[in-house]
Symmetry: C2
Subunit: 140 residues, 2 copies
Amino acid sequence: MTARKHSKKRDAILDCIRSASNHPTAEWVYARLKPEIPDLSLGTVYRNLAAFKAEGVIASVGTVDGMERFDGFTHPHPHFVCTHCKAVLNVDGIDPPQELADRVTCGSVRDCVLTFYGICNQCVSVDAENNSNLLMEEQV
Amino acid sequence: MTARKHSKKRDAILDCIRSASNHPTAEWVYARLKPEIPDLSLGTVYRNLAAFKAEGVIASVGTVDGMERFDGFTHPHPHFVCTHCKAVLNVDGIDPPQELADRVTCGSVRDCVLTFYGICNQCVSVDAENNSNLLMEEQV
DNA sequence: ATTTATGCAAACGATTTGCAATAGG
DNA sequence: CCTATTGCAAATCGTTTGCATAAAT
């Protein structure tokens, strides 16, 4: 029925998502591609991301700070969300406990999502730095 | 500094969230309270929910279908989200794997959130019903 | 030629916010 | 009284959508 046609912009958007490691927003993808594709529109990015997601070609990591975050790597894996800088990081070496799905009785489970929230190492460092700066200022 | 004052509306909002089992949205809380508190404003509901959340008095279950869902029960527990009817249900008998937090190296974990996505039992039933209806119609 | 994909800008919907009025202490 | 809280409506902001045009087949 639906005869899909090829599109350079669509390819660029998918490449961008797949090569990005930061689980970007639509806006980020747009800003990233705009310089090399000047006539790209934000609506096109949204439309294609929605289509990719519906097809299962990309995944949604959820909403952080009001913005949806996407992942070009669709194999289920846990994420770490920094509540300070809003970074979304992959958590390696831990698998989502999909076995637990069998013990869920309220419905038929399709996905099992495991997400850790906290402060990423980088933000902890910056925080420590600021604190020592503050201490030094106080001492003056 | 901040001299907090008592407020009937604030109390009603907290009671509402705590007595609700459906992990409601701000709008739902508003609609629920409006009849008994005719001069309640949606902004007040949003403001108080945000404050409760910041204080840790209530928890956010995340965003489902573009709307934030709240939980008056703050002890960590997994949820089941029905991708069909958007219901958010508690999953009993399973604890979030907080032990795994120690194995996360990219930051310092504060929360561990486990969420299952799928079709709830009720939607499965309705679906089956519709299908048999369709089959019957086709046979006519 | 036909039909999908896109740009653009307007529409949308959830949430936030500024400000004058209200109510708690 | 003083100040936190609220109602109201306008503003915000991410996302969606309608429509005329461009690109793909």
